[in-house]
């Protein structure tokens, strides 16, 4: 049985706490500290605010890439080049990216940020997409890149719970990549490490 999990569960509480500490409440606390002649304290509150900004920035870049992936799968599924069962895979993977995007946007809001929105128009290398394998190869490249992108984000998060949530998404992208490679007739798991 597959149990659906919520990788962002730890955030439900922490997010609220960090949000309260990070925005309105911070400013007034910092102001109070300043008035009391304790700039060190005020600076400490400021750095908490910087942490939040940093995390929101990373999450928003990830969200932008997820929104593009959703559009890419829509393009692939609508291209008429994908046959079942590969077509079903594309739709399923698109659904995962929608879930990633939803949870990222919700987290960004919780941290006091504004989530980026999907663009009206995305550019894709459609000239090079003539066969099912072209589309699968293109999708595999995006998924492989997504693994690297999350891997590169994990150590940067100031909130450890965000790092762990990003790693949870990373695992999903890695499975997509392996399955797409399998569908292409390539070694699905060519290396022991991702970079």
């Amino acid at each position: 049985m597959i149990v659906r999990i919520n990788p962002f569960f730890a955030l439900q509480d922490l997010g609220r706490r960090r949000f309260l500490a990070g925005t309105g409440a911070t400013l007034s606390a910092a102001a109070v500290a300043l008035m009391a002649g304790r700039p060190a304290l005020a600076a400490g509150q400021g750095s908490k605010h910087d942490d939040l900004e940093t995390d929101v920035r990373i999450l928003n870049t990830a969200l932008g890439a997820e929104l593009e992936a959703i559009a890419a799968y829509a393009m692939g599924a609508g291209s008429g080049l994908l046959q079942k069962p590969v077509l079903d895979l594309a739709v399923q993977f698109q659904g995962h990216h929608k879930e990633h995007a939803a949870v990222l946007a919700k987290t960004i809001r919780k941290l006091g940020g504004t989530p980026v929105e999907a663009r009206e128009h995305y550019q894709f290398p459609t000239d090079g997409l003539k066969t099912q394998n072209d589309v699968l190869g293109f999708a595999a490249g995006l998924e492989r890149g997504a693994v690297s992108a999350y891997l590169g984000a994990v150590p940067l998060f100031r909130g450890r719970e965000l790092a762990s949530a990003a790693a949870s998404i990373l695992g999903d992208e890695a499975m997509h990549w392996a399955i797409l490679r399998q569908a292409l007739g390539q070694d699905p798991v060519p290396t022991a490490f991702m970079s």
Partner: protein, 131 residues
């Protein structure tokens, strides 16, 4: 005694040759494979989550017209070349705090050299980057 002297010579040789031998000239073939790590966000010929890379060398940081950069990147006083790219790719948020490229970087100098060697060619390729 003899053995120890030989060891000392070996250790010395290793120390002396370290800077030179630690990094070979960048290999663009390896670099192309390493660029796969960038392809969640970048393409050569068009803007995505990150800006396009065509025309990168010699361009000011934040210099792709129409791309919405972070203030940190838009205001950075940096021109992209092998040196500045090496610094940036080692630690993007370290070199440019506040950048929207939320990516830890590439720790391995050789990998960076390979990637930069490929980027130098590819970002000037008339096929990928028509004028």
């Amino acid at each position: 005694m003899k053995h120890r002297a030989a060891t000392a010579v070996l250790v010395l040789a290793a120390l002396v040759s370290l800077p030179a031998s630690a990094i070979a000239p960048g290999d663009p073939v390896r670099g192309e494979a390493i660029y796969a790590r960038c392809q969640a966000c970048h393409a050569l010929g068009y803007d995505r989550t990150g800006p396009k890379h065509c025309g990168l060398f010699g361009r000011r940081a934040g210099g792709v017209p129409g791309f919405r950069y972070s203030p940190a990147m838009a205001q950075a006083d940096v021109v992209w070349d092998a040196n500045t790219l090496d610094r940036f790719l080692a630690n993007p948020t370290g070199m440019m705090p506040g950048t929207a490229m939320g990516y830890a970087g590439i720790a391995d100098r050789q990998e960076r050299a390979d990637l930069i060697a490929w980027l130098r060619q590819a970002s000037a390729s008339p096929i990928e980057c028509p004028p």
